[in-house]
Symmetry: C2
Subunit: 500 residues, 2 copies
């Protein structure tokens, strides 16, 4: 059938007067070169196995795929928080069908109704169906500013410096777009990194300038390594414009100390690099000895605020909310040239505005129900249940992985990921080379076919030459995650046997 | 206060080791050169007047700004349709707080509950908080495919060729990104055009290749003009890759005949140009003698389907829904090289997925309540009320504008806009030149300050040299729109008096 279609497609293409206009050869080559591992080859294979399992449930030694490739909590059993969804529903309902309906209390708690009214007030009577200001609804930006001020111990935040965005991705795209002015423009990114950075840089035609995180030192970066990386880039003619810091780390899970962040701040200020602070996992800190410190706070405490250009990204997709599908988030700009900031505003305007449901969810993330209000306790309880379970899983998975012969995994102090190093048999490395792939991908595909667990090959994030492994979330629910750890072990033994 | 802050900002900037990293001169110059008129200078002035009116309500001869600059129906009084919002609210509510709650019928009609259950089923238990497939939820794409097949009289539509997008803008961005492979890549766009095209091309560093619509012939484009434009572009070394057709027209309001579209289809096929069919106003046809015909239908009836690469854009923001803030929409690809389509999928993946609330609204736009179900009649009545009022306004505004001495406005057969030509006094043209602007902008600012009406200068859309005017929506509610037409007249007389 597929062959027939392909042949028909061939005939159709033959019917063009001069052939199709756009081919792999004539299209944008930057786009062609872009890679995005978290939705790459392994995931596409997993999706096709899911389809096969529907038509033929016994075709694999498992009944379903366990997706641990992406930080998508609700897709693997995490329940949404009730109160924010109630407020969101009321914001979307027309007044007479919602907040002003005489039956509203039959279905909604009073503090959800009150909060929805406040949000509708922010929307000035337009409701959630209108485009907002290109930076987002002013009242919500004021709430975000209060949240940031409280988080950072009172350091001022101006709502005019906040942009509400579709997740963190759009904001990252805007800033990198502003930075990449020529093919020699570069951005320093950690190795390993989250692939939105490498993908965006490839698409924009800029240069990646990798700096290595030291796995032996809990994935920290030394100042020597930062200077080495910058010098090396300058040496090959790269005009380095910006620096990406991911804290808590993705895929690496470390939580940085204030001193470590201050070092980065000084480095960026010294070299006039825009500091992109990817702080989307700020709520996901599990190690009781660690605290999340924002780059803004660290810069301020080091007396450096205003001496560098800093942009911090946050999102409704991670944390305890896990509201990925909502596409909500914000970025805060500090120390930018006002003329450049006006250009970033213009770019945001060209997309009109971020989705209002995402803006509403951002509001609810930074401001929950008031203490003492009817939903307060249940809301806090739901949050604690999710957080405590994530914390247990963070410990359990790392312990489990470290018990596997040949595995070595740093603690997941924060974020949602483990990034184990795996000693690969030489024959597997050779086999991968022969297949024109890397051993990480060979391993991830083998794991997928044997167990149904879908991880991302470590190569998708970058790593030191000779290292191999994968990234897994610990988002599936506890029983399933325990089984997954068992399956990692069983598969690894099979894999060693196959390639011994 | 502002001066103090500016001075403080100056001091802060002085404190950089080597100055800020990013300035107007060092930033991405394509981004700097981009213009986006519908949120440009006139709108920024309008926003600042809105602020002034808050603190000092009598500072202008009007009490509020009438925003006719942007197709944002809910911001100027259009009410959301009740049933789609009820379904959306139920989809977002956790089951026990919504569809499965014993009190659900106290607030929601049964057909909203049923439809929400179907949508939740499509989401496979993940709910609206999870990232979906990068092309959008499969079940919703199947509904969109059915809608397209029915609209086009049975021509097949494959859900695999559909991408659910954040409004139409993201889809347009993806296709143009794929097309622009070098600074000589160009795209044919109508003059006048909607500025997302010129803005995106400027940002991507591609070339605009304008083809003129003939105002004297109801904004149609002749084949001679298309061939002339293409030849002229080739002559200056432009590699033309694609062609934009906006039907119904924005800002021009014309609705094209099947023959006129078939001509464009043949032109694109002959020259191997990707045809970008901006069909977001397909529901907004007011002239009873006209019908919306999709490019796909016209291509199929001309026996050309499969002989060109066609992409059609649609959106929840326009039509009768007007759900701009939801950021929902789709694009359908036809005749693309499968390898190129896979690359477009990859690009969509890098943004993870479009917002789920926008996907849900797209589903509801293409499939309302079933005939006979409890909400069917009220839903159809709400739709008819909005449509009939838009139709009356389309006629009333065009008539009113044409009664003004020196104004000439083509009929608004479709879409949401009037694009009158205005004869400008010579002294105004000179005054604009002296101020370093164009007379359209001078006129729009004068109109704004005198009446509070915020229009977009025609120059923002492009027009023949020597022409001048503006674009106005007819979205404000009927009484307000009648007043606006009066105010256009009063202001024009004042303007002529000032510059006589």
């Amino acid at each position: 059938m597929i062959r027939k279609l392909a042949f028909f497609g061939f005939l159709l293409r033959r019917a063009y007067a001069t052939g199709p206009g756009l081919t792999l050869e004539t299209m944008n080559q930057n786009m062609r070169n872009m890679e995005y591992a978290v939705r790459g080859k392994v995931v596409i294979t997993a999706d096709s196995i899911t389809s096969s399992l529907k038509s033929s449930p016994t075709s694999y030694p498992f009944s379903k795929i366990i997706y641990t490739n992406i930080g998508n909590p609700h897709s693997v059993g995490q329940k949404p928080l009730t109160w924010p969804r109630q407020v969101l529903a009321l914001v979307d309902l027309p007044d007479e069908a919602g907040v002003d309906n005489p039956n509203v209390s039959k279905l909604f708690p009073s503090d959800a109704v009150e909060r929805a009214k406040v949000l509708k007030e922010y929307m000035g009577g337009c409701g959630s169906g209108a485009y907002s200001h290109s930076q987002g609804i002013r009242g919500i930006r004021e709430e975000v500013a209060e949240f940031i001020e409280e988080r950072d111990g009172g350091i001022k935040c101006n709502p005019d410096d906040l942009f509400l965005t579709n997740g963190a991705s759009t904001g990252i795209g805007h800033i990198l777009t502003a930075c990449i002015s020529s093919p020699t423009s570069g951005v320093m990114i950690p190795i390993p990194q989250y692939p939105i950075y490498s993908a965006s840089l490839a698409l924009l035609g800029g240069k990646q300038v990798g700096y290595y995180l030291d796995e032996g030192k809990e994935w920290s970066a030394s100042m020597e390594e930062l200077e080495r990386s910058l010098e090396e880039a300058k040496g090959r003619g790269v005009d380095v414009k910006a620096f990406v810091l991911i804290n808590p780390g993705n895929p690496t899970g470390q939580v940085l100390s204030k001193d470590a962040i201050a070092d980065v701040v000084k480095f960026c200020s010294k070299h006039s690099l825009i500091l992109l602070a990817d702080e989307v996992y700020q709520e996901n800190v599990y190690d009781p000895k660690k605290t999340f410190i924002s780059c803004k706070k660290a810069a301020s405490d080091a007396g450096m605020l205003g001496q560098l250009e800093l942009v911090s990204f946050h999102s409704t997709s991670k944390g305890i909310f896990g509201e990925c599908g909502r596409r909500g988030g914000y970025m805060e700009l500090t120390g930018f040239d006002p003329d450049v900031q006006a250009q970033i505003y213009k770019l945001a305007s060209s997309g009109l505005c971020s989705g209002i449901p995402g803006q509403v969810m951002t509001s609810l993330m930074v401001k929950g129900p008031s203490p003492g209000s009817v939903s307060y306790e249940s809301y806090e309880k739901e949050k604690a249940t999710i957080f405590d379970s994530l914390k247990r899983r963070a410990i359990m998975v790392v312990e489990g992985l470290n018990k596997i012969e040949g595995f070595s995994c740093q603690p997941a102090e924060g974020s949602m990921y483990c990034f184990p190093k795996v000693e690969m048999p030489k024959k597997a490395i050779e086999a991968a080379r022969k297949e024109g792939t890397n051993v990480d991908t060979l391993y991830a595909l083998s794991l997928l076919e044997a167990t149904g667990i879908c991880v991302v090959p470590a190569a998708g994030f970058g790593q030191e030459p000779g290292r191999a492994g994968f990234r897994t979330t610990f988002l599936p629910q506890e029983e399933e995650m325990k089984q997954a750890v068992e399956l990692f072990k069983v598969h690894h033994e099979q894999f060693l046997e196959k390639y011994k």
